[in-house]
C-alpha cells in the first residue's frame, strides 16, 4: 500500500470530559512532551509522536452557532493558524502551532453563546440522572427493606454486588454534578465578559478518575466471577453411599432405634432419577462461599407418631453457611431465627438460649408437643440451622453439632 502511517500512542481518557480548561491544558502539556492528539474512542485518546513544542489546543462547544466547521470555515480558520482536528464529545478540537495566531475565541461573550445549548442539555441530563439514581436507590432500599430477612438475602443472593455498584454510580453522579457546575460557572464568567485561563490543573482529576476506573474494573471482574462461580459452583445430588452428605451429622445419629432406616423416594425429572427425601445441595456466593442444604428422611417401621395415627417418619434439614465476613454471622443467625421460627412457625415453641461449649450463640426451640425442634447456632464465621421433625431431643447432639461448626 506504501502508506507511511506513524504508530499512535494511547492514553486513557481520564480528564473530565466537560472541563474545557483542564482538557486544553492536558493536551498542550502532552504536546510539550512530544505527543500530539489525533483521535479518540470511548476509553482512549490516541497521540502521534513528534518533536516537543509549545502549541495550543482549544475546545469549542459544538452548537447551532458553532457547528463542526464546514470547508470555508475550516480553511479560514486554517489561514488564521487554527486546524480543526476532531470532534471530542460535545467539543470540536482545534490545534494551533503558530504563536502569533490570534486566539480561536477573541470575545468571551460570544464564546458563552456557544455554550447555551449544551448548558440546557446538561441541566436536563442532570435532572434525569438524579431521578434515575433516586429511583434505583429506592428500588434497592425498598427491596432490602421490604424483605424480612435482608441479611440472609444479602449473604446468599446476588444483592452483594449492589453496594460497590451503587458506590460507582454515586461517584459518577457526583463527578457529573461537579463537571456541570464548573461548565456553568465558566459560561457565566464568559457571559460577564471575563476570559478564562487556558492553563488549569488536571492531575487530581486524573488520579480520581483512574482510581474509580480501577474500582469499577475490579467490581466488574468480581461481578463476572461471582455470577460465573454461583452458576457453575451450584451442585445438588442424591445422598447415597457413593455420594454422601457433605455434613457429618445425620438423622441416624438422632434416631438411635436399631430399626431406623432411611426412606427413599425416587422421582424422574429430565431423565434424571432424583431422590428428594435424601438430598444435598451446595451453593456459592461471594459472602457465603460455602452453603450446604441437606435433607434426610427416615422411617422406623412399626412405630407411630404420638397419637398413634401415622407411621413415624422423622426428617432432618440442615442449613450450613461458611461466611467470608465473620461479622455477618450474628445478623444472619437473627434473620434465620426470624425466618424459620418467628415467621414460619404457627404452633407455639418453647425457646431456650443455651450456653454450650463450641458455640458463640445457640438457640433451641421445641414445639409444644415435642415433635418438631429447631436449633440455631453460630461459631466464628459459621452458621448452622437444624430443623428436626421427630421425637428425640437435639440437646444430646450438641457435641456433634459443635464439631460441625468447627469445620
Amino acid at each position: 500500500m506504501g502508506m507511511n502511517r506513524k504508530r499512535l500512542v494511547p492514553r486513557l481518557l481520564n480528564v473530565d470530559a466537560l472541563d474545557i480548561p483542564a482538557m486544553e491544558s492536558w493536551l498542550t502539556d502532552l504536546a510539550a512532551k512530544g505527543l500530539y492528539y489525533r483521535k479518540h474512542n470511548t476509553l482512549f485518546m490516541w497521540f502521534e509522536r513528534g518533536a516537543p513544542a509549545a502549541v495550543r489546543y482549544r475546545l469549542d462547544v459544538v452548537s447551532p452557532v458553532s457547528p463542526i466547521p464546514d470547508t470555508p470555515q475550516a480553511s479560514h480558520a486554517q489561514a488564521m493558524g487554527w486546524r480543526f482536528l476532531d470532534k471530542l464529545g460535545n467539543y470540536a478540537v482545534y490545534f494551533c502551532d503558530d504563536p502569533a495566531a490570534p486566539e480561536l475565541h477573541t470575545d468571551p461573550v460570544t464564546q458563552s453563546f456557544t455554550m447555551d445549548q449544551l448548558a440546557k442539555k446538561l441541566k436536563r441530563s442532570l435532572c434525569l440522572m438524579a431521578l434515575l439514581m433516586l429511583a434505583s436507590f429506592a428500588m434497592v432500599g425498598f427491596g432490602l427493606g421490604l424483605s424480612d430477612w435482608p441479611v440472609l438475602l444479602l449473604v446468599t443472593g446476588s444483592t452483594t454486588l449492589l453496594f460497590p455498584g451503587i458506590a460507582v454510580n454515586v461517584f459518577l453522579l457526583c463527578s457529573f454534578i461537579s463537571q456541570c457546575r464548573r461548565f456553568l460557572k465558566l459560561r457565566q464568567c464568559l457571559r460577564a465578559g471575563l476570559p478564562f485561563s487556558h492553563k488549569a490543573g488536571y492531575r487530581r482529576q486524573i488520579g480520581l478518575n483512574v482510581g474509580v476506573l480501577a474500582f469499577a474494573t475490579v467490581f466488574a471482574l468480581l461481578s463476572f466471577y461471582s455470577a460465573y462461580h454461583s452458576i457453575t459452583g451450584r451442585n445438588d445430588w442424591n445422598i447415597t453411599a457413593e455420594t454422601p452428605s457433605p455434613l457429618d451429622f445425620h438423622l441416624s445419629q438422632i434416631e438411635v432405634s436399631p430399626d431406623f432406616q432411611f426412606e427413599h423416594e425416587m422421582t424422574s425429572f429430565n431423565n434424571e432419577e432424583i431422590e428428594y427425601r435424601n438430598r444435598a445441595q451446595f451453593e456459592w456466593s461471594l459472602l457465603a462461599p460455602v452453603q450446604y442444604n441437606v435433607h434426610e428422611s427416615g422411617i422406623i417401621p412399626g412405630r407411630f407418631w404420638p397419637g398413634g395415627q401415622y407411621e413415624y417418619k422423622p426428617s432432618l434439614e440442615l442449613d450450613y453457611y461458611g461466611l467470608a465476613l465473620p461479622f455477618l454471622a450474628e445478623p444472619l443467625l437473627n434473620d434465620l431465627i426470624y425466618r424459620h421460627l418467628d415467621h414460619m412457625a404457627y404452633e407455639p415453641f418453647t425457646r431456650e438460649w443455651l450456653n454450650a461449649p463450641g458455640f458463640d450463640q445457640l438457640l433451641l426451640a421445641v414445639e409444644e408437643d415435642g415433635t418438631y425442634s429447631m436449633l440455631f447456632a453460630r461459631r466464628g464465621g459459621r452458621v448452622l440451622t437444624v430443623r428436626y421433625h421427630g421425637t428425640a431431643s437435639l440437646t444430646a447432639q450438641l457435641p456433634a453439632l459443635a464439631a460441625l461448626l468447627q469445620g
Partner: protein, 121 residues
C-alpha cells in the same frame, strides 16, 4: 426592538456589523476589515467570527447572499442596519457623556488651580 442576549453588543460584534455597511462580505473579508479598521486592536478569532455570523444570521441581522465555491457571502438586513444604528447611537451617547464629564472635570481642576493662585498672589 426585542432585547437580545447581545444587547449591548461587544466590540467584535459591532465591528462585524460595521463590516457590512460598505458591501456584502465573506468571513475572511470581515476579519481583515475589523483588523484594518482598528489597526489590529480588534482581532476576530475564527471561533468568535463564525459564532457571531451564525448568531446574527439566526437573529435576522445578516443574510447569506451567495455561496461561490468555498466563499460564503453575507449582507446586512434592514434589521441588522437598525441594530447597528441603535448601537452606534448608544456608543455616541456614551462618548458624549464621557467627553462632557472629562470637560467638566478639567474646568473644575482649572477653577481650583485659579483659586489657589489668587491665594498666593
Amino acid at each position: 426592538m426585542e432585547q437580545k442576549t447581545w444587547d449591548p453588543m461587544t466590540e467584535p460584534m459591532f465591528y462585524v456589523l460595521m463590516a457590512f455597511l460598505e458591501q456584502p462580505r465573506c468571513g475572511t473579508e470581515i476579519a481583515a476589515y475589523a483588523e484594518r479598521r482598528t489597526t489590529g486592536r480588534v482581532m476576530l478569532g475564527p471561533g468568535t467570527l463564525y459564532t457571531i455570523l451564525a448568531k446574527f444570521q439566526a437573529d435576522g441581522l445578516i443574510q447569506e447572499t451567495s455561496v461561490l465555491g468555498r466563499k460564503r457571502t453575507y449582507h446586512l438586513t434592514k434589521l441588522g442596519g437598525a441594530r447597528f444604528q441603535a448601537e452606534q447611537k448608544r456608543l455616541k451617547l456614551c462618548l458624549g457623556d464621557a467627553t462632557a464629564a472629562e470637560e467638566e472635570a478639567r474646568a473644575a481642576a482649572e477653577r481650583a488651580a485659579g483659586r489657589e493662585g489668587a491665594q498666593w498672589a
